[in-house]
């Protein structure tokens, strides 16, 4: 087996002066959901899945396509590979927070 140190996430060093904060502007909201792939992200807080199940049913009834995702833990930001997968597979994302 190979060691797991740093092997799962690829890390690089920022070559800039770091005077500019890393920020991304939010994508524009689509005027309509027609034809869009809708990601439903469960952060795994209890009963978040109940909300997302109902939402998925309603979206599917309108003929919209949904994909489900789960964070490994609600206490940490989503792993970068999960974020990348969502970004590449979905047009919009609904993240459910429950408490």
């Amino acid at each position: 087996m190979s060691p797991t140190v740093d092997s799962d996430v690829r890390v690089y060093l920022d070559p800039t002066s770091e005077r500019t904060a890393i920020s991304r502007t939010l994508a524009e909201r689509p005027p309509s959901l027609d034809g869009k792939v809708i990601g439903l992200l469960d952060i795994i807080k209890p009963r978040g899945d109940v909300f997302l199940d109902r939402l998925e049913t309603l979206l599917n009834e309108r003929g919209l396509r949904t994909l489900r995702f789960r964070k490994p833990t609600f206490t940490k930001v989503a792993p970068i590979d999960l974020r990348h997968e969502i970004a590449t597979k979905c047009d919009v994302i609904v993240e459910a927070l429950a408490d």
């Binding site: 140190v5 690829r10 920022d14 070559p15 590979d81």
Partner: protein
Amino acid sequence: MGTPLPDGIVAVVKADCPTCRLVAPVLAELRAAGVPLTVFTQDDPAFPAGLDPVDDTELDVSVALDLDTVPTLVRVEGGTEVDRLVGWSRPQWEKFTGVGPLGDGLPEHRPGCGSLTTDPAVIERLAARSTGLRSRRLELARLEDEAEAFFERGWTDGLPVVPPTPARVLRMLGGTTRAADEVVAVVGPDFADCTVEKAAVNAVMAGCRPEYFPVVLAAVEAACTDEFNMHGLLCTTWFSGPVVIVNGPITTEIGMNSGVNALGQGNRANATIGRALQLIVRNIGGGRPGEIDRSTLGGPGKYTFCFAEDEAGSPWEPLSVERGFPEGISTVTLFAGDGPRGMCDQKSRDPESLARSLAWALDSVWHPKLALITDAVLVVSPEHGRVFREAGWSKARLRERLLELGTKPLSEIAAGAQGCAEGMAVGPGGVKSAFGGSAGDADAATDPAEVRIPKFVPDGLLIVHAGGTAGLFSAVIGGWARGAIGSSPVTREVKQ
């Protein structure tokens, strides 16, 4: 390590080690005998089965114990190591644990294997984790394309870069004795601090090897002086960029090219040292074309322009010696220059004739009718250099002659003379250079044929020797605005 070691016997093993697999039943015997045993595993978290191994795949415990070998037994009292044993030896294990007989059917002795912490690939990862590199981390998903990710962030010069992983940056930092957090220079136009670490990140991206890094650091220092004026050079509408001329033993030590195609492509050191400087100006200084870099046309030298002087074959003393450094000291000389323009003279066999050709080539810098506006580098090739060597012309004599030949009467180069509006302006107070400085005494009453104006100032004509041994060609590297108005050449020692 965050938590102290558990008291009793600590064993560190890895599944990949045959000796560790051999002693797995012995560890089970110890556990069965009531020995307080904790097993840490470096690779497979399930090995050895049945002994509740503690996952040390992050190697925190192994690093804290400074292990060379697995299996290693450590006796711990009060959270502190008091004794240790490496490899397998039946009598030593029995003595160490106080349990026996152990390992029925096993050989008496078996050396251990290397701890994963000694694996060269792992060492670099561990070092990257613990050396305190301060640069902001960028994380990419496995499916993201690294080259594209760097393009998207605007961190390249238009060509792909080597992704700056912590391990690569650490290797680059191994090329210098300077501390990673030391500030090398303040880089314009943003006037941001460039630490040794930040320079290393960009040197990795440029493709440098660690042994080039001292040259990069010296070039950054030289470029960011007030005399060289990297800020102004970056912002100008003119063509120039920093030209890096390297002298001294380091040029051969790192395999720089001063011969065939010296000003061209194909040599890693030449290419990447110049590129590293440009990436530092871009990424740390914030100098990006179309933003604060306003060059009208630019030039290919703004990707990279770095070469070594051919000292061994030169008829003259090296540029570095001429500029005040002892023979044997490695230096960089930064010159704010355009791309090279070629000059052909295949007929001159005497130095006076060849000097005339070179002077004509130098006349064309900026404009044949503009004088005292810029400096220039003359790159004399071996076949042209031979003419001066055989005639016994020193570099000083050649320079003196070039300055004489480049001195023109105002009647030839004044604005409007020879049917061309461009040229030296005459106004109140005398002849003006293009940037308003005085270029000579004259007024409306002066006979312009009597006023003679040199093209260059004496220390504004740098002469170096480089190139392949075939070709009666030399090159002129024209400069940007000279002196206090623009840039002066700057030489710095390359320090390891």
